[in-house]
């Protein structure tokens, strides 16, 4: 593709009026999605709606005004992880009395379906027309509902799902920002292939055993959602494994490396999403005329999606989650969001805006419900001493 290299000047700061104009559609959309057509009358619910609405639109305003993406995306992304965990666990305790999942709950199809299960279900579904998960096909937290969301978000954002939807990723994102500098700086490139190996392994083992292998044996996020009650040695071993993986991959390594190690070095859904990146219209590109090979983008990328080879090609790897961290970090503004098929001009902010609208909307929608619920429960906790 012929590069347009005529204008290499920095993006001019947008006027306040133009910024507000650009934020208006997002304000309307977020209000529509958060309120779902009706404004609540109960005091705490109205307060929760107002706070959530203002919080989201302030962040979007700052994103558009300052030209920085990751700085504000990460605030909302980490908030999503925290409110999701709080809301999910509190709901479990209210309904079941604990986070533990019994076999009886599984028989009754009461296990909420999460997107990480999706890769394991495809081959068995193709062969047996059944979903190897003890959930419900339709309804709240259902298999059908999550599949539709996965398909839609993958079509719109590709692997951007990992930085703009996944309600687990914010945990690592948060831990990775604790230290100012990484303690472990170099990780062998071969480990970036591990997610694909995990994907291959769990897909095959799930097809062999007709049970979701990753959920049973490996998923570290059971530590903060729900887990099978320990009634046998096998389940005890599984519990030790997933708790260890959570401590290692979600807490310790992100702190030490300042990277999202679970996402970049382990997550099988992330590996699958890398395939969807090939067909997605949005991508991150590098203007090689501006690039001074400082390698700052390589150092900050949370999912190891840039290396010297891809930098030389002017693009990032398929594992890019489009978080915007490299774009924000580049001192030369050489990295930029791009729409495939259009001219390669790093100064066009329209590409970024075209990406930000669907991406931020996804993040806002998925966060909105959990955040409002968390605020209401917090108010209840303060005023009544209980969240039930």
């Amino acid at each position: 593709m012929k590069k347009d290299t005529t204008d290499t000047s920095a993006i001019k700061k947008r006027s306040l009026f133009k910024t507000l104009l650009l934020c208006l559609p997002m304000m309307l959309l977020t209000f529509m999605m958060l309120s779902q057509g009706s404004i609540p009358t109960a005091g705490e619910r109205l307060f929760a709606l107002a706070v959530t609405f203002l919080f989201f639109n302030l962040l979007f305003f700052l994103m558009v005004r300052t030209g920085k993406t990751d700085r504000f995306r990460s605030i909302l992304f980490i908030t999503l992880a925290v409110v999701f965990v709080f809301s999910f666990i509190s709901n479990l305790i209210a309904v079941r009395g604990s986070m533990a999942l019994s076999q009886a709950h599984m028989i009754e199809g009461e296990t909420p379906f999460c997107h990480l299960v999706i890769p394991m279900t495809i081959i068995p579904a193709a062969f047996t027309k059944t979903i190897i998960f003890p959930g419900k096909i339709l309804g709240k937290y259902s298999i059908g509902g999550m599949f539709v969301i996965w398909i839609g978000v993958s079509l719109a954002l590709g692997r951007g799902l990992c930085s703009w939807f996944c309600f687990f990723g914010g945990l690592e994102d948060g831990f990775s920002r604790i230290l100012k500098k990484p303690i472990i700086k170099n990780i062998s490139k071969k480990w970036t292939y591990l997610p694909y190996a995990v994907l291959l392994g769990i897909v095959l083992m799930s097809a062999l055993t007709l049970s979701p292998t990753y959920c049973k044996w490996l998923c570290p996020f059971k530590t903060v959602t729900e887990y099978v009650e320990i009634t046998s040695v096998q389940v005890l071993i599984q519990t030790i494994i997933f708790v260890s993986l959570f401590i290692g991959l979600v807490i310790v390594l992100p702190i030490l490396t300042k990277r999202r190690t679970q996402c970049g070095l382990f997550c099988p859904l992330g590996a699958l999403q890398s395939v969807t990146n090939k067909t997605n219209v949005f991508e991150v590109r590098i203007d090689q005329d501006k690039c001074i090979q400082c390698n700052k983008c390589i150092k900050v990328c949370p999912t190891f999606s840039i290396d010297e080879e891809s930098l030389g090609r002017g693009s990032v790897k398929a594992s890019c989650t489009k978080c915007g961290k490299c774009i924000d970090a580049c001192p030369q503004k050489a990295l930029f969001y791009h729409v495939k098929g259009t001219s390669l001009n790093s100064t066009f902010d329209r590409y970024r805006l075209l990406f930000l609208y669907p991406a931020f909307l996804v993040l806002a929608i998925i966060t909105g419900g959990f955040m409002q619920d968390a605020i209401v429960k917090t108010i209840k906790l303060i005023t009544t001493g209980t969240i039930m």
Binding site: K190, Y193, L194, Y196, A197, V198, L200, G201, L204, M205, A207, L208, I237
Partner: protein, 210 residues
């Protein structure tokens, strides 16, 4: 099914470890897709003969040694543990090929001098007889089978799983960019090794408690 999936998970590793034997000849000048397909089929036939030979050998061990043992799990279990640890080691920590391809180079050269047209079959036979960790695990699995047909079927399923990765071989140029697939295949094999490690430990514990 277990054997097929063991073969499938290791097939990517198998082809990248053992392909150097076949690729230079397949990708030679003047050979079309049809000729390459014939050569690949000969190669796979050699592999199948190698695998089935070991199936018979595994059954022989079952009949001669395992039948007389009171608790066979106490033999199979440790075998699983050792071979799975090997598989994990080669999957994550070692880059050099573990199979006997290099060791048989001299033998292959001598055979080719006597019978040049035998290369694909001999190459297949040699790679089929190689003692790489996934093969060793498959051999241990086959040792548990009580009839010769079960043992041969087990290895046939393993062969099918590995062979899927050889299907694109007749189409030249597909070996470009195989490095990533090799790493992924090795790591996937290592992860499957963890499953067999667990199975071996459970067998050992179960064998001691019966």
């Amino acid at each position: 099914m277990e054997a097929f999936i063991l073969g499938l998970s290791n097939g990517a590793t198998c082809i990248t470890y053992c392909a150097p034997v076949l690729v230079p000849y397949l990708l030679g000048e003047g050979k079309g897709i049809l000729r390459n397909s014939v050569l690949t089929a000969q190669f796979l036939s050699g592999r199948l003969v190698g695998y089935l030979s070991f199936a018979v050998f595994a059954w022989g061990i079952n009949r001669s040694i395992m039948q007389g043992v009171n608790k066979p799990d106490l033999i199979i279990g440790p075998a699983y543990i050792v071979f799975s640890l090997l598989l994990i080691f080669y999957g994550f920590f070692r880059t050099r090929t573990p199979c006997t391809t290099k060791c048989t180079t001299g033998l292959r050269h001598r055979l080719l001098t006597i019978w040049p047209g035998s290369l694909p079959i001999i190459a297949g036979l040699v790679t089929g007889l190689s003692f790489c960790p996934p093969f060793l695990l498959a051999f241990t699995g086959a040792m548990e089978k009580t009839t010769i047909l079960q043992s041969m079927f087990f290895f046939f399923a393993f062969f099918l799983g590995t062979s899927i990765f050889f299907i694109p071989l007749p189409f030249s140029g597909l070996f470009r960019g195989f490095a990533a697939l090799r790493i992924i295949g090795r790591m996937a094999a290592g992860l499957i090794g963890v499953y067999y490690l667990y199975s071996g430990i459970i067998m050992l514990i179960g064998g001691y408690t019966i």
